[in-house]
């Protein structure tokens, strides 16, 4: 531990020395009497200095939590010699909030372990490290202190909360593998699609006898097969607008987690593209492992400032498989992501844009000019939305506080009458 001597100790010794010398020189015993308590304090301060040799262990009750949950950090302190005042500060990121006093001062009895519990509220998703613990011990009079960092860092992963989604967006086209999505095509399946005349090769059990009797020929049933789909979550991470601890990136990550969770539950393949200053992607895959991969990737999501011009060309082709439903979550603030999405549409991808609206996070400025610029900014956003709609891309504004089900339902209503895009 690093020892720090209070300047007061030297000052007291100096006062005592001055008093003694002046008393000796002038022959006034009162000055010596005046110096005596300070000399005693200096000597006592020097004599009481003992390194408390504190050891600390930090344990979190779990390493994973959801947003808004509490995690309890148990900090065990022990000192062979004890200390009358030990100041403890548990270092933690701003996304975690201590629900107990932090820092706080406690007393350690000699050799007796003391456990301090610090409940931590996980206010935002992310991968964090709790600790180290900054410890400062003082002697009884505060003449000496010992400081050190103890206990290392304990990892804590806070996952975004998942919203319950009642319905998901079906893509226009399904893939060839078995899944839970009823395909629009006809083939072997359960869902009835149509009746048609018998053709050589049709199985007898597919004959619709009632229709055949009525029409005087063999008619068979057609079904819609159940297939899986490829969904690519396209996250625009060029910009984030924050206000009062909430922001568009938070909403984007929560929505992406909820969508990935539900699509993967449905046996679909889900991929992820983080399109921003720092480009990252996950190839579409299915299963629980993919959910973990996606969530871990989302925890690392951050805004990285970049002026580089980027297009969808920089993405590996396998990240955007043919017939995939591309669900873009974007605040529509950066022209690069807006252009990339239009490019995707031009390439024939089944694209849906969920606009994570930054409007609730932005206060219009005061004054005529500020209000005018705010109105112009809103108009430019509407103009961008109109461009997407002209290209046949549904753009749904999603406001903070509104359930994700609402924009999904709006998109579903839009797509009920839409046709697949052709390049």
């Amino acid at each position: 531990m690093t020892r720090i001597v209070s300047p007061r100790l030297a000052a007291y010794a100096g006062l005592a020395a001055t008093g003694l010398i002046t008393g000796l020189a002038t022959g006034r015993v009162e000055l010596v009497a005046l110096a005596a308590p300070f000399a005693l304090a200096a000597v006592a301060g020097a004599a009481l200095a003992r390194d408390p040799a504190i050891e600390a262990t930090l344990v979190l009750d779990r390493e994973r939590a959801l947003e808004s949950e509490d995690v309890e950090a148990a900090l065990e302190l022990v000192s062979p010699g004890g200390s009358d005042r030990v100041e403890v500060l548990l270092q933690m990121p701003a996304e975690l909030r201590s629900r107990a006093r932090n820092p706080r001062a406690v007393r350690l009895a000699p050799g007796e372990p003391r456990t301090l519990t610090v409940p931590l509220r996980c206010e935002r998703w992310g991968a964090f490290a709790v600790g180290p613990v900054l410890v400062r011990a003082r002697d009884p009079l505060g003449f000496h202190s010992w400081e050190t960092k103890l206990a290392g860092r304990s990892p804590l992963r806070v996952y975004p909360s998942v919203e319950t989604l009642h319905a998901l967006l079906p893509p226009f086209e399904t893939q060839v593998f078995i899944g839970n999505q009823v395909s629009r095509t006809k083939g072997d399946g359960i869902e009835f699609a149509d009746v048609r005349e018998w053709e050589p090769g049709d199985r007898v059990r597919r004959v619709n006898w009632r229709a055949s009797a009525r029409r005087g020929g063999l008619w068979v049933n057609d079904q819609h097969p159940e297939r899986n789909t490829d969904v690519v979550l396209f996250l625009d991470t060029f910009a984030d607008v924050r206000s009062a601890g909430r922001g568009t990136l938070d909403l984007t990550v929560r929505a992406a987690t909820s969508l990935a969770h539900r699509y993967l539950q449905r046996k679909d393949r889900v991929g992820l593209v983080s399109f921003g200053g720092y480009l990252s992607w996950l190839l579409p895959a299915s299963g629980t492992h993919q959910l973990y991969r996606i969530v871990d990737s989302l925890l690392q999501m951050d805004i990285v400032l970049s002026f580089a011009t980027k297009g969808v060309d920089v993405l590996p082709p396998r990240t955007l498989p043919p017939k995939a439903l591309v669900l873009a979550l974007t605040p529509l603030l950066d022209s690069r992501s807006a252009a990339a999405l239009l490019d995707l549409r031009a390439r024939g991808f089944d694209l849906v844009v969920i606009e994570v609206s930054p409007v609730p996070f932005i206060e219009p400025g005061k004054g005529e000019l500020a209000e005018l610029s705010y109105r112009l900014w809103r108009l430019s956003r509407e103009s961008l939305r109109a461009r997407y709609e002209q290209a046949g891309v549904p753009v749904i504004e999603w406001l903070d506080g509104v359930p994700l089900n609402v924009p999904l339902e709006e998109v579903a209503a839009f797509r009920r009458h839409a046709r697949p895009a052709r390049a």
Partner: protein, 154 residues
């Protein structure tokens, strides 16, 4: 303490009060601006106010000097405690009690040491070169200790 020093020398009460007020203002400045480096200077100025009254009053030994000394130490320690608590850290009751106990013990011990010094003057231990040498050696020891502590602090 200031009132006592001023009351002892009515003729120069104004000077004593002025020096004492300067010390008090310096102490207030230390507490308000958390300038703990200036704390010894505030105590020194307060001690000077008392010293002036001592020299003006005459050669008689002031029997209340131990109380003044203990008061000065108490003043310094309370100010230092206040400065230590500047960050508003939550401290448990045992921590506060231990420091109060340590402070009280120190001030009482200081009062005792100071009273012993004054009491020794009443005893006729004799005088001469040997006593002067012992006194000088004690002073050198204290100054040496102070210098050593100052070097370690720096």
């Amino acid at each position: 303490m200031l009132a006592y020093a001023a009351a002892r020398v009515p003729s120069l009460a104004g000077l004593v009060v002025a020096i004492g007020l300067l010390g008090a203002l310096l102490l207030a400045f230390v507490l308000v601006r958390r300038a703990d480096d200036l704390l010894p200077w505030a105590l020194a100025v307060l001690a000077v106010a008392y010293t002036v009254s001592l020299f003006v009053h005459g050669a008689a030994v002031d029997q209340a000097a131990p109380l003044v000394a203990a008061g000065l130490l108490l003043c310094g320690e309370l100010a230092a405690w206040s400065l230590d608590e500047r960050h508003g850290m939550a401290a448990e009751r045992a921590v506060v009690l231990r420091r109060a106990l340590a402070l009280g013990t120190l001030v009482l011990a200081g009062l005792g040491a100071s009273a012993a010094v004054v009491a020794f003057t009443a005893a006729s231990a004799g005088n001469g070169l040997a006593w002067t040498a012992v006194g000088a050696a004690a002073a050198v020891l204290v100054v040496g200790t102070a210098a050593r502590l100052a070097r370690r602090t720096a």
